[in-house]
Subunit: 336 residues, 2 copies
Amino acid sequence: MPKVGIRDVAKLAGVSTGTVSRVLNEHPSVTQEVRARVSGIIKELGYMPDPSARSMRSKVSRLIGIVIPDLTNPFFSELVQSAEQAAAKHGYNIIVMTSFDHPAKEADRIGQLTSRKVDGIILVPSNDFHTLKLPKGLPIVVIDRLMPGYSGIASDHRSGVRLGIDYLLKLGHRRIGFISGPEGSVPANDRLRGYLDAMKQAGDGGRLAEPPLIAEAGFDYESGRSAGNYLLARARHERPTAIFASSDQQAIGCMRAAYDLGIPIPAALSIVGFDGIPLSNMTIPRLTTVKQPIPKIAAAAVAVLLNERPVPDVDDPVLFACELAEGETTAAPQPD
Amino acid sequence: MPKVGIRDVAKLAGVSTGTVSRVLNEHPSVTQEVRARVSGIIKELGYMPDPSARSMRSKVSRLIGIVIPDLTNPFFSELVQSAEQAAAKHGYNIIVMTSFDHPAKEADRIGQLTSRKVDGIILVPSNDFHTLKLPKGLPIVVIDRLMPGYSGIASDHRSGVRLGIDYLLKLGHRRIGFISGPEGSVPANDRLRGYLDAMKQAGDGGRLAEPPLIAEAGFDYESGRSAGNYLLARARHERPTAIFASSDQQAIGCMRAAYDLGIPIPAALSIVGFDGIPLSNMTIPRLTTVKQPIPKIAAAAVAVLLNERPVPDVDDPVLFACELAEGETTAAPQPD
DNA sequence: TTGAAAGCGCTAACAG
DNA sequence: CTGTTAGCGCTTTCAA
């Protein structure tokens, strides 16, 4: 089977390779008739244009790179999967890379993608992104963990958290604890601000817990567990009756902490998570959480790279609304 | 910044483009001295060879495709991540694609990868793989869900399951239920056989439960839950005292079923899962599970595609051993 | 609207 | 060991 090339097609169709190329690229200036004949031959021969040759001439690789901190994190794997779907619709494919949250590895990966001449990069920066210099000239859209100075797309963490806190307030909770994300992380800060906003507004002039019930932590399970222990290891009347965690994994860690301390959920403690990963539906009890519109974010990022959507302004990121998914970890507080 | 090409390097180094190319490709026949000078210039100029041009000539894309049913499944996402790591060590990158377990989508994706001229494909076939025709001439290695007739790499499901069942037997369990995977799935069958092997061998001449305590299910959470309900919704003395699930997600679904039925774990029911995904460590109680050596599988698959490891024989797949990870969901059975 | 022809940037003979 | 040179398979002017 001696590999069929564009010339074979041209010969059989009785046209020049130029015309075949024009058919391939849907160039308007080709007669219906010729187009039909050529397309026919192409199908008949099972001809597949060589992408290397193509991209060498046209400078388009139909490849998008995506760099994330950790594919094992369900949030990111869903993101990648959504991006793949969106890209595939346009004939684009995705190269995935994991940075493991190491700025050096991250820089290396971005370099690889650059030299691969991908048409664009979707980046979820490592938490410590300050040293990162993004290559100019290659379209990059930052996702989720926004970086000041680069165009970004994310969900509206701040108002998303408010959704959760307001829900707890409405249930009657007042001593609401908060497990924050790592300091310096942009989304972590946004989430924290959402919490502070909501608490202040509901504040009844300062009747809320003092000192503030905030524990700083990484976004992972173990951190959430430690933070939960910290918030819950105190006398009953100063202990929060509800905790909002900045990630589902944290929330699940916090559930473990409560379990180890013998605190029943939701009877004695309500918990709300953030992210809406599949896992949140599998816990016992099912986790109440604020769900991020991951597919929307991914699709928008792809659309930007494909110029189907304007590039978001550098200091005005595109934000998508979150929604609350009620589970079984929330209930009205017990009377003191 | 007028894009630096191989000729710029050649000119500045006072050599021909051929020599630069040889340096790039680590061809042995270049003097240390010349090699050093050229490398210097390359670095100085920040020259990056154009991968399209390269692969057009050399027929090597340094790209590996990986097609899996669902990236959202933690087992597969870890697989992809491991593959990415292994590939990166050799200067290869990974294109991921999701088939959603649709044979048609799967075929399409494989076609895309073929026309992209990737150097090889790592494939986890859809459960219904029988219609699938793999393109000849492109190295493909099937992993996890082996396909008869294609070279494959997986963990040793059969003996892995025995590990779990033997553990339960040693704890004293006799009525051990089994949640199998979907019928027709090769790994599901292997796991089932592991169960049957172990039960028969421990059988004391047939004293084991009759009829067999087997429930068929998909590998997902909901299926596991239904299967759990099925196995547990019977009178106490005929109910299994332990259940082995063919996947962690099933096991977690089964935990939910037990919870809903008011059956305490591990007091009244022991559960063992299979896979060893991160999630198994986050449940309450922590899941005892049989852990698959995912990184080994991924690395071996990459090694095969890179010719660093012999291609496994078509009817003799490479199998890696699993290991038991003891959690908190297993204990000796209660006296009847 | 279509054909002819000139490369894209690199690798791989083939000489020397 | 190194230079020269002929393309890889396609896209894209430039003419016709």
